[in-house]
């Protein structure tokens, strides 16, 4: 049975395998091997029989082929209304076809399905809101990704990402010690300005357990510093954990459900060990969806809830501003036209559409906020969701997909885009570069930090 050295049906479980896979620059050999990868049709069909229940079966069979989902899909709109980009067509021609053929599909078919699942759908779940029958094609693409992952037909970066979670319980090769050390470093770097700033590690019973995105630790630890400072000036009783600190899940994008479970149970383990009153996660959309919304199900928690109540950073921020824990200097409010990117993963998947507007009411000078159209639960994906941002193979398609957001932003006339989601932040950065769009963009933390009033007793004594 042709299985490649890199491209095969085995997940990456060790650091050595991970390094070897990373060493295959750009996944050249990986994709070469994929061309010869055999489809285990028996496994495919038995998996479907075990995991495809009435919901997805019914979705596939009662689709009325009415095409009302077409216009809901930003990728369809941005590809000159190519009928092959209609969500119903995309899922029927992939998952639907696999089911109709009882799993008997070949290598070429799986290549097509892989491209459809990762380059034609970002799992933004928007189409599901426009189907009269309530067919959520984003959910089905998530399911399809799982089937493709099991068969080894998964983009190189996604296999690496899932492997990172398996080996490090983080989306990048950041060991636990490095996380704690980096957080402490950031705190030290800011202790001159905030003399009593500290990062409590593994403190039991704190009000807040803060979890992050490994990318922050690796590349922009300023984000950790900003989070620490904001908790500090808000007077919060907070902590981080030395294990289970990663909120994100590239495994979810990859369709590696086993790794998804490993990842979230590490975070839930920290919750159970430290018993915080609640968890606050960083400004990341998919991470919130993975750990807070989907995670409990992967971990087998029957109430669908995390062990302690868990909220997104925007919820904490809105609350801190509402209750006056954080005070904004009215002079420093944003006074340029500004818009906000609504992240699919915490709005269409967790309903957090009003809290971000509430934050805006505190930090933007009245009259300067310009909402995108459409917005809230009807907003379009940033163009890079669901793993799209990270896949080199589909860079061209991704850049095309960014045009939707570009045009939406330009239509607002905003000079600044707030993006409280790592994926959106990345996509907006890329579209600014790719299409030379003259706007700035930012997470909320650095902006809030600039306008927040620091209580007298926390200021340095000169």
């Amino acid at each position: 049975m042709p299985e490649g050295q890199f491209c095969n049906k085995r997940p990456v479980n060790t650091d050595e395998e991970l390094k070897a896979l990373l060493g295959d620059t750009g996944g050249q050999k990986y994709y070469q091997e994929m061309k010869a990868l055999e489809v285990d049709t028996a496994l495919l069909w038995s998996t479907i029989q075990k995991t495809m229940k009435s919901r997805i079966k019914t979705w596939l069979s009662i689709c009325a082929h009415c095409g009302m989902c077409a216009d809901s899909c930003f990728i369809y709109r941005v590809s000159n209304r190519n009928p092959k980009q209609v969500p119903a067509y995309k899922i029927q021609s992939t998952l639907g076809e696999i089911v109709r053929r009882k799993g008997k599909v070949d290598n070429a078919f799986m290549h097509m399905a892989m491209e459809t699942a990762w380059a034609k759908c970002t799992c933004c779940n928007r189409c599901g809101m426009y189907c009269p029958h309530g067919i959520d094609m984003g959910v089905m693409f998530g399911y399809l990704r799982g089937l493709l992952y099991q068969q080894g037909f998964v983009p190189w970066e996604m296999k690496i990402g899932a492997g990172m979670h398996r080996v490090y319980r983080a989306q990048m090769d950041v060991p636990n010690e490095e996380f704690v050390d980096t957080f402490q470093w950031m705190v030290e770097e800011n202790q001159e300005e905030y003399p009593r700033l500290e990062v409590p590690v593994d403190k039991e019973g704190a009000d807040i357990l803060y979890t992050v995105n490994a990318r922050e630790v690796k590349h922009y630890p300023e984000d950790l510093a900003e989070a620490a400072i904001l908790f500090h000036i808000a007077g919060e009783d907070w902590t981080v954990t030395s294990e289970g600190w990663e909120l994100t899940s590239l495994a979810m994008f990859a369709g590696d459900w086993e790794a998804c479970k490993m990842q979230v149970t590490s975070v839930y383990g920290a919750m159970e060990r430290l018993k915080p009153k609640r968890m606050v996660g960083t400004e990341c959309g998919h991470a919130h969806r993975a750990t807070v919304v989907e995670g409990p199900y992967w971990a087998g928690r029957k109430d669908g809830q995390t062990p302690v109540p868990s909220i997104h950073y925007v919820e904490w921020l809105a609350e801190a501003l509402r209750t006056g824990k954080l005070k904004i200097d009215p002079e420093k409010r944003i006074k340029v036209p500004v818009t906000i990117q609504d992240s699919c993963n915490y709005i269409r998947n967790h309903g957090l559409k009003e809290v971000t507007r509430e934050i805006i009411s505190y930090i933007v000078e009245p009259g300067y906020f310009r909402d995108m159209s459409p917005n809230r639960e009807h907003n379009y994906c940033c163009g890079g969701g669901g793993g799209f941002n990270g896949i080199g193979l589909y860079r061209r398609q991704r850049n095309e997909a960014l045009k939707t957001k570009r045009d939406q932003i330009l239509a607002t006339g905003a000079e600044l885009v707030l993006a409280p989601c790592h994926n959106c932040w990345d996509a907006i950065r890329d579209l600014i570069e790719e299409y030379e769009v003259p706007v700035k963009w930012s997470f909320l933390k650095p902006l809030i930090l600039k306008m927040a009033v620091v209580p007298e007793h926390l200021k340095p004594r000169e």
């Binding site: 919901r55 079966k57 809101m129 009269p132 309530g134 199900y297 967790h350 459409p374």
Partner: protein, 225 residues
Amino acid sequence: MYAFLTGPMFWLSLAVFIAGLFWRAVWYARGLDWQLDRVAYRAWPKEGARGAVRSVFRWLVPFGTRGWRVQPFMTVVFFLFHAGAVLAPVFLLAHNVFLESKLGVSLPALPRFLADALALLAVIAGLLLALRRVALPEVRILTDWRDGLVLALSLAPFITGLLARFQAGDYQFWLLAHIISGEAFLIAAPFTKLSHIVLFFMSRAQLGMDYGIKRGGMKGKGMAW
């Protein structure tokens, strides 16, 4: 012939229709899996029910959702078609006279003019839906022969019924054709996409529960899906 069609065949088709659709609904509900669907149905019955009801209700109201509002042509045609398809057969005087003779019970009947208009509009809307399938590339690519068959099965009783009603040509012929096509519809319903007669409610309710329980329904303001 007439006796057979309105006798054993009527009972058979009605039984297949009801039992078949009932079975599909039961099969659907039994197949829901909290972990695979990732919706904690049992843990949050109240939130789930609220989401389900909202979801079904909003989609039953013309222009009740953004999905309907952004496609006004489709919405008008769709609701005309379904209004005719549901109201005309169920509340038609002739049908209820027939039912009375069979079951001894009947439903209130629509005024003749209204029933005619509904039926006629349903036919026109059905033809527009067929036209839409052919004319719009994004619908054409999805369409296969089954979609044509389902539409034909739905329209045939209306067309034959109207021809019989207005006595165009041979009344007996059109009446028999009407009964046959009507019974074909009833029998086909559980086995084709016509099963959406019940599965629409099931599927919508499921997504409503998904949103009501998991995807933000408990975060305050619900969204209409």
